[in-house]
Subunit: 135 residues, 4 copies
Amino acid sequence: MTDKVNELVSKCLQARDMAYCPYSRFPVGAAILTADGAIITGCNVENASYGLTVCAERTAVQRAVVEGHRQFTAIAVACDIKDQFVGPCGACRQVLMEFGSDWIVYLTKPDGSYKETSLSELLPLAFSPAHLAKT
Amino acid sequence: MTDKVNELVSKCLQARDMAYCPYSRFPVGAAILTADGAIITGCNVENASYGLTVCAERTAVQRAVVEGHRQFTAIAVACDIKDQFVGPCGACRQVLMEFGSDWIVYLTKPDGSYKETSLSELLPLAFSPAHLAKT
Amino acid sequence: MTDKVNELVSKCLQARDMAYCPYSRFPVGAAILTADGAIITGCNVENASYGLTVCAERTAVQRAVVEGHRQFTAIAVACDIKDQFVGPCGACRQVLMEFGSDWIVYLTKPDGSYKETSLSELLPLAFSPAHLAKT
Amino acid sequence: MTDKVNELVSKCLQARDMAYCPYSRFPVGAAILTADGAIITGCNVENASYGLTVCAERTAVQRAVVEGHRQFTAIAVACDIKDQFVGPCGACRQVLMEFGSDWIVYLTKPDGSYKETSLSELLPLAFSPAHLAKT
Ligand SMILES: [Zn+2]
Ligand SMILES: [Zn+2]
Ligand SMILES: [Zn+2]
Ligand SMILES: [Zn+2]
């Protein structure tokens, strides 16, 4: 798995360069590993109406879906923050949860070092698709 | 504090009745306790373009802001799920984080029983406003 | 009607002062006129995860709903742009459409001058709740 | 241009089949024509927290950006509605506007017939990136 993780981390760092972020000037890159071993990248795409901005992680998920993937095992995320590991925003955590709770999440620094965590850790007591059917 | 918590829980249950949710038929209510003791409620407000839907928790936060509040201590949330305690969606967790990490969160069942948790528990390794200034 | 319009315009300008907009520094205010003559205000509420930002118009609509209103006749919107009349963002136009197409829209400048338009003009060929039932 | 339009329309219809829409059961497909002649598709990707849903048009734009495109000339959009031509939701109109006002928009029916309109027609008096610099 180590080679695949290195590739995932490397691709999320590259994807950061594609970010369209004229408002925040805060580029973010993401790379998703699908269940069948494909890697799909995403970057943040901002909007003058700030609320229509979408993060890198969600761009990657949407792109994966339109390319035919719905089963995922891991995601790597990187921004420009050098001195600590930062998790995805809550909205992105929820979008990952839509496709299952078994995601490994690699929080990546610009130098390529990373911290491994998981969606279960990042979104405890999660609201999930199953809950909509509960009522 | 107990009386105030009971009032908060009671008001989040009432707010659920105001939900506009013709698409999900999943009404949710929220009630926020401000630092100066006011209670502000919210409900989900859905949209035919599903992505423009906003949850109860966020409605309450936005309403609190326009009414002049920016310091909060707790939120109670209730939906119709009877058999378990469900946390807010990730998007709402992030919106709470915008106003600090010190929120107590009361997950409430329709019968008024509740589980106390906190934003720190619900959104570990959080992305927060401070990070935007880091680069 | 003129007095009511003046009040609506005046209140949307005041609501702008409540805006929480540390990222854009672009405060916006909105004021909605309900079918029974109440005025409900809103301001933009931004988020470090830009995509969780909500505009003034939508804050006003959500607040109106939780306060029990679902029938509306007009909205006034104001930002700090002095030299032209600017319409609401597309997301807000769609949220207005959720509650009918008969909105009068008053685009307001900081000096209180305004241009009257309508949601029908601002969102032609609109996607609306009725379309979801069409398939 | 006719061949390219036919291809665009055909691809937006195909993209509709990739939609992840378990909540609305309202699949939508979109196909964007870039300034250099590439076609990028998108579909809607829904979420149990309805507000995190993203439309087909926006999925296509985000995917185009991460693939290196920022200049566009046209978009085709199709859903399952057979008896009329329906425009994109307001949120999507605003996301198109982020990349200029010169979009041709092809509203497409399931049988492949289409109506040509434009973003200028669909989003009059638009809020645009230039406005953020105005204050
Ligand atoms: Zn995010
Ligand atoms: Zn939520
Ligand atoms: Zn708006
Ligand atoms: Zn849309």
